[in-house]
Amino acid sequence: MTDNRKRILEMLADKKIDVDEAYRLLSLVGGSEECGETGEARQEQRKRPGKYLRIQVEPMGEGGEERSGADRVNIRVPMALIRAGMKLTSLIPDKAAGHVNDALREKGVDADLRKIKAEDIEQILEAIGELEVDVESGKERQNVKIYVE
């Protein structure tokens, strides 16, 4: 029996909620558990550091189904590679870092590579672990997914 269900039954036993409310809460909890995950398990999965960053771009048809024959992208990047690459940014000489910063600023990214520290990198990667981006956009209806697994 999961914690959520146990808590609901305890509240019913303590008469904090009535039968109808308990039934409603159990059905809500049961809906998520039928998918095979409890809230705690989902949180646990999110807390587990991801191993890969996935980027997928898939063209969608009119009815939302995948369109064959169109451009698509499927990239899987190991997080260790991202970590190693970001640590290398600290080795960029100051003059070169200045050029890189200027180029980033031209593209609208206001970031200073010289200020990135090791603890910042870990925080960024931890935040990426909780990132899920799902976008449907454009005239050609592309489905863009960015997530960590």
């Binding site: 191993k51 451009d71 190991p78 260790a80 080795l91 000489p93």
Partner: protein, 93 residues
């Protein structure tokens, strides 16, 4: 301990043709890379010593230490891009 990628698979194909594919046995290349690295190490140390007063010597040494980690981290990298009639796929296994 992380293991470096053993094989690199590169495949480029135009729709309608067989395309070009190659399986590169990296497990044969790593000993060669290590040998070359050991042979170049004295020169790298010399370069680091020469650049040390300017502050870049430390960067050279740290880069040399970071490079193997970067190569090992390539394992699992998988890029699959299809554009127009061309498909490009590279994977490090």
């Amino acid at each position: 301990m992380s293991v470096p990628p053993w094989i690199m698979h590169l495949h480029v194909r135009n729709i309608g043709s067989r395309g070009f594919g190659i399986w590169l046995p990296l497990f044969l290349a790593w000993p060669l890379f290590i040998l070359i690295a050991l042979l170049l190490m004295p020169f790298v140390l010399l370069a680091a010593a020469f650049l040390w007063p300017g502050g870049n010597g430390k960067r050279v040494l740290l880069f040399c230490l970071a490079l193997p980690r970067l190569l090992v981290a390539l394992r699992g990298l998988n890029i699959d891009v299809k554009q127009d009639r061309t498909r490009f796929h590279i994977a490090f296994v």
